[in-house]
Each structure stands twice: as C-alpha cells, then as structure tokens.
Symmetry: C2
Subunit: 212 residues, 2 copies
C-alpha cells in the first residue's frame, strides 16, 4: 500500500516546509482542494519541481468542465487528478479523455455518493482507473468507518481504490487490510507535534504489514 500525504494547508510556503520533512516517507504528494483554490495550480508545478520522483496528486474535485480542468492539472505537472463521482458522466468522460491524451490518471472521489457499490460499477464502465473512498473533512465527525463495504466493492467491482478521511496510526492497519492501494493521510501528519515522526511511523506500519 502506498502512503499519500494530503496537504490541506492553504499556503504554498507552509506546504513546501511540511514536505521538506515528510516527503521522504511518502509515495504520493497531494495538493489539497483548498490549497489549489487559494494558490492556483502553481502549487502542483512547485511540488513536481521539488519532488520529480514522487507522484503528484491534484485534488481538483472537478464537477464540470471535466476535460478542461484535467488538462489544466496535467499541464501543471499532476500525475493524478480527481473528478467528483457525483459529477455528470460527460464530465468524467472528459477527464478520462484528457488523461489518455497526457498519459496520466484520473481518480473518482466518492465523497457524497449514496450508493457507492452501484456508482463504482458505473465508473468502471466509464473507464475510471481508480476510486478514492473518501469521507470529507465535514463528514468525519459523523461517519462510522465501514471497512466491510470497501471489501465488497473491491471484490465485486475489481477497481483499485484509495482510502481518505481521518486515517491515523490507529486505523491505518485496518485500511491496509481492506486491500486499498493507497492510504491518504492529512491532519494526522500535518497536525502532529512532529509531522516527520508521524510520517515515519505510518510508513513503518505499512511496511510491517506488506508482503511485497
């Protein structure tokens, strides 16, 4: 399982300072949605320039203009961009077309989807390469993790997925046990007393469980 750091800070300078500490322990660097909106896609360009060997994930959360927004993200240096799974199928197809053109990837963010299993099937049919099973910042206070649902979606639909939303030291092993390809961790790292120690501990927990 890959470790992704989700940077929901809102200044590029803060983000780069955090990355100086934690980038060495992660596989994927995520420019969070509020960071992109505040600073623009230059944050993605700055991440790619500073860390060319890491995958750069632009959390665009695209709801419309799928092809245009995905192109903007890829042109800025993103390896992966996100489209909302609740978006119109034409928006998702537009983003997929852009990904094919640039040789990059689109993830559908499942935030706000009511019937996740049904939508996962439809998204696979549309050609989406991976899902982000995501409980939003505003949902986390109310949700209960349902790891079994993730296993059912994985077994039934057979599409790779990331898990995001409140993952920490206590839950990361359960996330890995669902068969997730990626654990995206935000606040548990950037709000930690020592972000670098937390990133190292999360990385070690993943390695300890991995068989490959």
């Amino acid at each position: 399982m890959k470790l992704q750091v989700s940077i929901d800070l809102v200044s590029l300078e803060q983000a780069l300072n955090l990355l100086k500490e934690v980038a060495q322990y992660v596989d994927i660097i995520e420019a969070g949605t509020p960071l992109i909106k505040q600073e623009g896609l230059r944050v993605v360009t700055a991440f790619k320039q500073a860390y060319p060997d890491k995958l750069i994930f632009a959390d665009m959360k695209t709801m419309d203009a799928g092809e245009l927004e995905a192109e903007l993200a890829f042109q800025a240096g993103a390896d992966i961009t996100t489209v909302l799974a609740v978006a119109n199928d034409a928006t998702l197809s537009g983003a997929i077309a852009a990904a094919q053109k640039y040789g990059k990837s689109v993830t559908a963010d499942m935030i706000g989807v009511h019937d996740r299993l049904q939508r996962a099937k439809e998204l696979k049919q549309l050609g989406i390469q991976s899902l982000e099973m995501h409980w939003g910042l505003d949902e986390q206070a109310h949700h209960n993790w349902d790891f079994n649902e993730l296993r059912v979606i994985k077994d039934t639909v057979g599409i790779p997925f990331a898990v995001a939303g409140g993952i920490n030291e206590t839950t990361i092993n359960q996330v890995q046990a669902t068969g997730a390809e990626v654990a995206a961790v935000g606040g548990a790292i950037y709000n930690a007393t020592s972000p670098v120690e937390m990133a190292l501990r999360l990385r070690s927990q993943i390695s300890a469980l991995s068989t490959v």
Copy 2:
C-alpha cells in the same frame, strides 16, 4: 433581473481584458471555477480591486471544508461564494456560518442534483440564501430547458435563484420570465465576435422586460 458575466477563461490577463469591455454592462462578475483553480483566489482580489462597485462571485463549487473554503473566498474579496448543493449538509452549514461572519452570501449550485424541488426545500431549511439553477458545460449538449420546473421551485420554496448554463440572446427573455434574480452568461459573451456588443444587447433585453 441582474446580469452576471461568468468568466470561464483560464488566465487572469484574459479575464481582465474581457472585463475592460463588458464590466460596464453587468451587475455581477463571476470568477469561474477553472479560472480560480488555475490562477488562485488572487483573481477574485484583482476583480474586486478593479471593480469595487460590482458584486464579485467566486464560483468555488465547494464540496468539502465548507467553512474554510468560504472564508478563503470572502478574505480574497468575494461577495458571493458557491457550495455544491450535492455536498453534505455540514459543508453547506459551514459555508453559511462563514457568510454570516463576513456579512457575505452563499449560493448553492444545483448542478448534479436529481430532485431539485426536494433539495431546494432542504437548502432553504439549512439557511441557504439563494440557488443557482445550473446546467453545467458538460451537460449543456444533452439538456432541455425546463423553465416550468424553475417556476414551480420559485412558487413552492420561495427562494431567490440565478439561472446559468448556455443562456444567450435567444433564451434570456425566457429566463427572465421565470422570475430569476440573476442570469449568468458565459460563452455567449466571451465567445462572441464582439463581447461588448453582446453584453450591451443582453443588458438591453433585460431592461426592456423589467418593470422596475
């Protein structure tokens, strides 16, 4: 009815050049979602500085972190920010809290909502001040305008609304007849041979129909 220009160009320079021509004929200047993501919220600041007497509309299309994203938009100079109507109620409530704090306004973008009448009722209950009845760029090829539905929502729920999505010279009178507070026009202005003439013609059509 107010006229809003939706700027879905992707550079601040292009946007400011367009506004030099058309701002005089509009009431509300919208920074489109791709423009905000490409350039960052400095576009909103630039619009407000250049046109302090116009309302500045930040089409944030917020899906998560409602309070944070709305605060970022208001701090940048927006008078109005958007939250997706398909977002979690907690996200909408967070944005409403930020609007109350800053004395500004939140519009719920109805793109992607299946039962618009039901959701409009819920949004009014949550404290949303206005709706944007929106057919997205990716939907416009497929949708049929249903002006009657807008009248039903207006009469039943009694919440002010804007209409957006493919409005042009041919349809703006029908939009006004629904009782919309705002017509948001994008491509019909910025793709016109003469944007300034188109903005003037749209403005004249609205004035000709207005009784106040």
